[in-house]
Symmetry: C2
Subunit: 189 residues, 2 copies
């Protein structure tokens, strides 16, 4: 079993707990929560640009595609009324702080963690988000074959660099990402 | 007349001289010259990533599209046999040095100069490159509506930031870009 799979197996339980959170489904609250996602996605944009600054040529195409998806997501959040100048919720601020801390890690760690972050978020999203609403566009965007291809490519890139990494370092950051995902989704409890 | 147009008018003559260079059209030499373009395009990639690190949200979509075009161009050059480890010709090295120096300018200057650099190069390319060859793919890429749309968007972004800039600073760097373009094309005299 490769290092990526071992790491995945290790966090599987925490992910299931995240997916099982009994969030109260309420259109208005969810729309508000989603708009408040802006500062986190903005921080993710910066994280991705920093990845591109170090990416070897073979990694760049999928990483640029992923960046494009993030830029489109920011546009979408703005179109929904997100306000980049609004005060940032402490939980979002903490998650932004984690991303900024991760920026200090070496390129392969940041790449693998970026892949997991996307996977984790999308699994939780698919478990929690239901019904019709403006966010259906986002769901469709992430389910589209182009974006699925980007995720697949990211997984291949992550597998390509994961073998040489210190699994404890990876696991420690993954736990913190999971913790932040749990805190973020718990805003909807 | 806007600042962008004034600046353009000022360099028009130098651009015409560049387009009139009597280059000797030889497939083999041109293919070799093009492969040697790799380190310059790599430097342009870094220049663009640094732009993205500071770009406001409204600028990001076209800049990411332009970055994608650069990544595809690097792939294309590799497919033609470009060797990233090959010694770099002094003229290319000088051009890379200019880009690195320009990286120290403020964001609006770098954005406007990036727009001009694309325009200048493509005008010279269209004036000089003829006939069939593997580079026809590149010509077609740059002539494609998607890439024309990127150029158009870059022009709009450049116009949006140009008014507040010191025209002398812009003109000085444009002259140096033109000088490097002339030196680069002159390798084919």
């Amino acid at each position: 079993m490769g290092l990526l799979q071992q790491t995945e197996a290790r966090y599987r339980q925490a992910l299931e707990a995240l997916k099982a959170l009994p969030i109260r489904w309420d259109r208005e609250r969810f729309a508000f929560w989603l708009k408040q996602d802006y500062p986190f996605v903005e921080a993710l944009y910066r994280y991705q640009v920093a990845l591109l600054a170090e990416a070897p040529q073979a990694h760049r195409f999928p990483l640029v595609q992923a960046l494009l998806a993030t830029v489109e997501e920011l546009d979408w959040l703005l179109a929904q009324g997100a306000d980049p100048k609004a005060p940032v919720h402490p939980v979002r601020r903490e998650y932004v702080g984690l991303l900024e801390e991760m920026a200090g890690l070496g390129y392969p760690y940041r790449l693998v963690l970026f892949y997991f972050l996307n996977r984790l978020f999308l699994e939780a999203w698919n478990a929690h988000v239901e019904g019709d609403g403006p966010w259906r566009e986002l769901s469709e965007h992430w389910a589209a074959p182009e974006f699925q291809a980007v995720l697949f490519d990211l997984e291949v890139l992550a597998q390509g660099v994961a073998e040489g990494l210190d699994q404890e370092v990876l696991a420690r950051y993954l736990e913190r990402i999971l913790e932040m995902e749990e805190k973020t989704w718990s805003l909807l409890l």
